[in-house]
């Protein structure tokens, strides 16, 4: 790397660093406390998923594909199933759709709890991660009851979900959701309304509307910049068009504070969706029968499916040549746009003390960028 200017420090954030969002590194050039250049360095988690999926049958990819994104693995499964269903024009049973909604929204809640803990941890408020991640375990318990796994579920399948929900599961979901809603007040007192948090987060790492459009920012980060756009509203996948929920638009500054608060209010909206889905869920089958999964073929063609994950727009570009295995699968992770070009742009001129908080507030999760 050519020397760009006389700088005081040249140092690395990550891969072994508590302030890095997972296993990725940033090469930082700083003048005093001010960052003058930052260069992301990816590839620590590159496992060649796209290659591996080409070697496995359509159905065998379900256990593999969800390992792309760890904090919220279900979106991968659902997207992959959605891509196959769209190519083969399969109608998914109603009940399965509702179960998918509940699973997706619970996963979103758990990802947000992790997110709050992460952001609070970067500014040293270690009590918040202890609380939120402890509370997140209640959601993981629900998942464990439903699927048998805490983190990786392998619950979705072509044309539905693998099995029906257990008895009394809906009530337990509602109970957990009520508890989380109550806990949100505690988080408000300790974290979201904390004066020092406001002081540190306001006006830091601003992604304004222009930058958001220029750098393909999606998801909560885009909404925090003042663009009211949500895939669930604009291009309703599954059955999101049946639920009443708002997309919060109180925060328009695009700074770190807005990004955190945006998610805090979306947390409540997700709870609303879960309540409605649990109330409206019809009876019926939860999947379609596939005769021989290893001979399962998908019609020739290509499709781009996307959904709204907790981090932003998550998309799969799937190409089939009519065979038993995918021909090509490209994962479009939101972190690819948030963690690389955007960080290069917004981190310039910020303080070294803030860079970790900015990265966490963008919810950069390297595995979905590297795959």
């Amino acid at each position: 790397m050519a020397k760009i200017r006389d700088f005081d420090y040249e140092y690395f954030i990550g891969p072994q660093h508590p302030g890095a969002t997972g296993n990725m590194s940033y090469h930082v050039w700083a003048e005093g406390d001010t960052i003058i250049k930052i260069e992301p360095n990816l590839g620590y988690l590159h496992r060649g998923f796209e290659k591996l999926t080409e070697l496995r049958h359509w159905i065998k990819n379900f256990p593999l594909i969800l390992r792309i994104c760890v904090p919220e693995p279900d979106i991968n499964e659902v997207l992959y199933a959605m891509a196959i269903e769209e190519l083969n024009e399969i109608d998914v049973p109603e009940r399965a759709q509702y179960i998918r909604i509940i699973v997706l929204e619970l996963a979103r809640l758990s990802a947000y709890l992790l997110y709050f803990g992460g952001v609070a941890g970067t500014i040293g408020l270690y009590t918040v991660p202890q609380w939120t991640i402890g509370d997140r375990d209640y959601i993981l318990d629900l998942f464990e009851e439903l699927t048998g796994g805490r983190v990786y579920h392998i619950y979705q399948t072509i044309g539905g979900v693998r099995r029906d929900i257990p008895e009394g599961f809906k009530e337990r979901v509602l109970k957990t959701v009520d508890y989380l809603e109550k806990r949100l007040k505690d988080y408000d007192n300790l974290f979201f309304q904390h004066p020092i948090f406001e002081k540190r987060a306001k006006g830091i790492g601003i992604v304004d509307k222009d930058a958001a459009l220029r750098f393909s920012v999606t998801g909560p980060n885009l909404r925090a910049a003042g663009v009211n756009y949500d895939v669930r509203k604009k291009e309703p996948y599954l059955i999101y068009d049946r639920f009443q929920f708002d997309v919060p638009d109180m925060y328009k500054d695009g700074d770190t504070y807005s990004r955190v608060m945006q998610r805090r209010y979306e947390f409540e909206e997700s709870i609303k969706i879960i309540r409605q889905a649990a109330a409206d869920m019809p009876e019926g089958p939860v999947n379609i029968k596939i005769r021989n999964p290893f001979e399962y073929r998908v019609k020739e063609g290509s499709v781009y499916v996307k959904l709204e994950s907790s981090k932003g727009e998550y998309g799969f570009y799937v190409v089939s040549d009519g065979g038993v295995k995918p021909y090509r699968l490209h994962v479009r992770g939101p972190s690819f746009s948030h963690g690389l070009q955007l960080v290069r742009h917004i981190a310039k001129g910020t303080n070294i003390a803030d860079i970790s908080m900015i990265l966490f507030s963008l919810d950069v999760c390297p595995p979905d960028a590297e795959r």
Binding site: P18, G19, D33, G124, T127, I196, R200, I352, S356
Partner: protein, 295 residues
């Protein structure tokens, strides 16, 4: 004989300081809905660190840094009475020596950390030294009224002068006491003034290149530092008449510090310094004005 006495004294303070650290971890854990480690955990940590076989050093100054820090803080014990007994050394104006010796610790760290040429350590030391600019002045200004009031600058004399309950410095000068509490939070390096350590930003700061025995020495420095810093406050503002009184006082002060620590995020460095030059400075000045009006 007095040398032996001093070492016993140092051992006692070190062990109690380590136990205080254990209490801090336990209390923090309880606030965080956890069970937490046993109270004697820091002692085990230090024993383990001293048992480490192989550690890397980055030169003479890097190794000497923790030693300077520890000896600096240990020598303050020469002047610091634990309760109402005569310290090993005392003379008119030993407060200034203590305040001076308190700076030796961070300076030793700065020398050691600078030698490691790790940018994290360098940034951390820059932060620690500029934060000192904030709290040192406040602390000095906050203690000034007490010494002025009792016409002495010797800690021992001040304790004797305060005597029983209503004559405490904290009662007579509540405003100064408040300012001193603010300064103490920064002096102990606890949140919201934890910016020098800040694991999420600069990977535990000055300690970044220290491991094994050096880190063990730094832990001891921290342990003695807890007692010395809270003890200084207690000596000046509560006038402890015996050693139990002294330790109860330090414990209460320390407890307050860790409670604040558990629910605060950290300030950025310029915010921290600006904070100190706001309300705490005002309180310290008001305290001085009070003694002026009192006269």
């Amino acid at each position: 004989m007095s040398i032996l006495y001093f070492f016993l004294y140092l051992l006692l303070v070190t062990v109690i300081g380590l136990l205080y650290m254990g209490v801090a971890r336990k209390v923090t854990a309880h606030i965080q809905n956890r069970y937490g480690p046993p109270i004697y955990q820091p002692i085990l940590d230090v024993l383990k660190l001293f048992g480490k076989r192989h550690t890397v050093t980055h030169g003479v100054m890097h190794s000497l840094g923790p030693v300077i820090a520890y000896t600096g803080i240990a020598s303050t014990l020469l002047f610091l009475p634990l309760g109402n007994h005569t310290p090993l050394l005392h003379f008119k104006g030993d407060l200034f020596v203590v305040l001076y010796l308190l700076v030796v610790g961070p300076l030793g760290m700065a020398l050691g950390a600078g030698e490691s040429s790790n940018p994290n350590a360098t940034i951390a030391m820059a932060r620690a030294l500029s934060l000192m600019l904030g709290y040192e002045i406040i602390f000095f200004m906050a203690t000034l009224p007490v010494f002025y009031h009792y016409h002495t600058a010797s800690i021992y004399k001040v304790i004797q002068a305060q005597g029983v309950f209503p004559h405490w410095g904290a009662i007579i000068f509540p405003i100064s006491f408040l300012a001193a509490l603010f300064a103490l939070q920064g002096m102990m390096g606890e949140k919201p003034f934890e910016i020098a350590i800040a694991p999420h930003e600069i990977a535990s700061g000055p300690m970044v290149e220290y491991g094994g025995k050096y880190l063990g020495l730094l832990q001891l420095w921290h342990a003695v530092g807890i007692i010395v810093e809270t003890g200084l406050l207690v000596d000046i503002f509560f006038g402890p008449q015996n050693i139990i009184w002294f330790f109860i006082g330090t414990f209460i002060v320390f407890y307050v510090v860790i409670l604040v620590n558990a629910v605060m995020p950290r300030f950025r460095i310029e915010q921290a310094v600006r904070f100190y030059w706001g309300i705490p400075l005002l309180l310290a000045i008001l305290g001085i004005l009070q003694v002026y009006i009192w006269r």
